[in-house]
Subunit: 166 residues, 2 copies
Amino acid sequence: MIRAVLSVFLVLAAVSSTFAKYTPKTGRRNPQTLSRGWGDQLIWAQTYEEGLYWSRSRNKPLMVLFHLEDCPHSQALKKVFSEDDQLQKILDEDFIVLNLVYETTDKHLSPDGQYVPRILFVDPSMTVRADINGRYANRLYAYEPSDIALLVSNLKKAKKLLKSEL
Amino acid sequence: MIRAVLSVFLVLAAVSSTFAKYTPKTGRRNPQTLSRGWGDQLIWAQTYEEGLYWSRSRNKPLMVLFHLEDCPHSQALKKVFSEDDQLQKILDEDFIVLNLVYETTDKHLSPDGQYVPRILFVDPSMTVRADINGRYANRLYAYEPSDIALLVSNLKKAKKLLKSEL
């Protein structure tokens, strides 16, 4: 009996603590993730400044991925990208990663325009690797879901760091 | 019997789909949230550029909150901040919100230094409201957990928009 009363009490406590928190008029939302579905196990930088800082201090290249939640090309790439174990492993172990749904003020990150999806690499020496690109001449930094092998090969290129000019 | 076999099959399918995804050597991680614990129900901007864009297009002031995960003052403020329903409601309905663990390149966001926790408001006219501050003369934009009422009153100040110079 005591156990039953305690259970009811615990359930009530749990319910009341759930309801004590602010709930939007439109109902409870799922908390937003920094990964936005591109790899929940990766440690994502929040901003370009943060990504550059980590890249320099850990001497790892930075991958900047521009996308949009309502772009079907971004969504299609995201599915393959997030499910590719080899890609996710290399990114986790050897890269600083950043995904953005807004452009930055650095024009070097849009060498041929501000389309999505678009993937740029930045060397720890702070050089944007405009030389590492995909297979589309009119959108050099775009990747399709079928280009994952090329993207993995580009990651390996980006891992070979440029010599610092210092 | 068929139902039992089906159940086992479904469980196995669920387990294998869990294990098919990339797992870091150090074990599975909880996905990072954009709220970082400052209000899971709020819709957070990821970057300052994004926050400014939303502020202008929705004509709502932007709150920029600088903090650090390993700063005890930030943690203490976060607890009170995230649990205050009135504060969370005003932020959700009348503000664009951004929390950052790295500084931006805009010096206007650090009028008296780059300490944490630090809260600045930006009017939709793109003016940093350096006139809206807390109670500490040496750190004008710092708030302690006991300053939540002052912070709510400052939100009301920030809601009175400046006249656009256009």
